[in-house]
């Protein structure tokens, strides 16, 4: 392990092995670990409806509200808008957040179109609270941090700031890093609110690679349960990889990786396991540009340690942090754009897909502010495109189809927007068409 550089530029104390970093979305694996302990104890059933535990649970679509299961929450397949943040209300944060989902837009039937979903993990965290009768923070202390002996692992901002935290940064106008204010943790405690030192994070990784033993050597979880978390639950439609229970599963060369990234408030982070090699790597940065560093270092580490490199045109999926495609050779014959052209929507923006100067472009129009720059696309696979210029060059954009073969969604940065205009053929998907993976 090593620490490089400084915790924050205003008070440039060195990063050490005890520096506490917000883990952002890596927290989702901690939430899933706690949840799976409750599954082992018979207190939660992954296939049970969410309403078994939260009788008042409601999103905009009543059928989904009734039928969605705990499994959907921890596989990012609830299908509703997921990019929502929970306002800090202390111990009531999750109860209030879940109560306010009643008008949350349904973008796809559960399981139909994989889409990164913070809100789903917040609901899972609320289930943990209700089942244990404790706050999420206390439950995580009892179910994960305590048994693993993690002393520099926290879910409360008040604890984090007392333990040498790294502070996030963005690149300022003159190109140098500027502190991101104010200091906060992730979008909600279960989706992004865990903070840890690199030392504790490696202990956590060791647990997920090991036999399920806690710090005192006693059985904490069955190895079979840890395996289940790392087993493909569903192909992330449009990507060449799967989702486990919270973990993102990607094969690079002959190596199967189990990973989660994190992005929040000027921090970009990655935890990656290679279970077959009993290998783990964590890279924690305190800059919004840190994903580029992580990408370069992760790919070099996989090559150097495991002789693992990506396949040509491998469609890598969103894992909680930005990545660019390792390679993308444009199709010799580009598809007709008519299948993709149209307007797509999310609660916070619309996404225009149109033809400009003979090329397909995608443009995000956030509600209440100017539109982002149009991004030119080139297809490198069926319904798989790459941005060819601009700040997002080499990012992937996927188009997803319904069961009848009609393009119904466009996905940017792992999040879908649903098509507003009627598709060229076929009917819009019904909310009752709930798909369940393994």
């Amino acid at each position: 392990m090593r620490g490089f550089g400084v915790r924050n530029v205003n008070d440039p104390q060195p990063v050490t092995l005890n520096t506490v970093f917000p883990l952002a979305s890596i927290s989702k694996t901690v939430t899933a670990t706690a949840l799976m302990r409750l599954v082992e104890q018979g207190k939660v059933d992954l296939r049970a409806p969410v309403r078994r535990y939260l009788p008042d649970f409601r999103v905009a679509d009543e059928t989904v509200s009734r039928d969605v299961t705990v499994w959907h929450l921890v596989t990012h397949t609830g299908g509703w808008e997921g990019q929502l943040s929970a306002t800090d209300k202390g111990d009531e944060t999750l109860a209030r957040f879940v109560a306010n989902l009643a008008t949350n837009m349904q973008l796809a039937p559960p399981g139909a179109a994989w889409s990164y979903n913070n809100a789903g993990f917040a609901v899972a965290g609320r289930i943990i609270e209700v089942v244990t009768g404790k706050t999420f923070s206390d439950a995580i202390d009892d179910l994960v941090f305590g048994p693993l002996g993690l002393k520099l692992a926290f879910t409360r901002v008040g604890d984090v700031v007392a333990h040498s935290p790294a502070v996030g940064h963005v690149v300022g106008p003159d190109g140098t890093p500027v502190m991101q204010r104010t200091f906060t943790l992730g979008s909600s405690p279960p989706a992004g609110g865990v903070a840890m030192s690199i030392d504790n994070l490696l202990e956590y990784a060791r647990f997920h690679l090991g036999e399920g033993l806690g710090a005192n050597g006693s059985r904490m979880m069955a190895r079979a349960t840890l395996d289940a978390m790392q087993t493909p639950q569903l192909r992330k439609q449009g990507y060449d990889e799967d989702i486990g229970l919270a973990w993102h599963l990607r094969t690079v060369g002959n190596v199967r990786t189990v990973a989660h990234g994190g992005t929040f408030s000027g921090h970009i982070l990655l935890l990656e396991l290679v279970p077959d090699r009993q290998f783990a790597m964590a890279i924690l940065t305190n800059a919004g540009s840190g994903w580029r560093l992580i990408q370069d270092v992760e790919r070099e580490a996989l090559r150097a340690y495991h002789d693992a490199t990506f396949s040509p045109n491998q469609a890598i999926g969103h894992r909680g942090l930005n990545e660019t495609l390792p390679s993308a050779t444009p199709l010799a014959k580009q598809p007709q754009p008519t299948a993709y052209v149209g307007q797509y929507e999310r609660p916070m923006n619309t996404v225009d897909v149109r033809v400009e100067n003979g090329h397909l472009v995608v443009q995000v129009r956030p509600r209440g502010r100017d539109a982002d720059a149009p991004m030119p696309l080139t297809f490198y696979g069926t319904d798989r495109a790459i941005v060819t210029a601009g700040a997002d060059a080499n990012a992937s954009v996927e188009f997803l189809r319904d069961g009848l073969g009609a393009v119904q969604w466009v996905r940017l940065t792992g999040r879908i927007a649903r098509r507003v205009a009627e598709p060229a053929r076929g009917a819009r998907p019904s909310a009752t068409g709930i798909a369940q993976g393994r």
Partner: protein, 79 residues
Amino acid sequence: MVFARLAIATALLVVLVILVLAAPPHGQTVDDPVFDQLSALITAKMAEYHVPGVAIGVLRRAGRRCAASAYATSTIRSR
């Protein structure tokens, strides 16, 4: 017969001691040239992408960690 058993037990003990000495205990750091190469890469990338701080940890065979140390970088200045 007793002598043979004693010899076998002694040999096993010697093998066990060698194994214990060869494998660092839980959490101990070990030298790792690849990790050193990654460290050099990180230092370069911190400057290239303007990243003030990085922590990296590698766990190999779930029991061995790479050498640990802390660095400061001259590419970052206080504002």
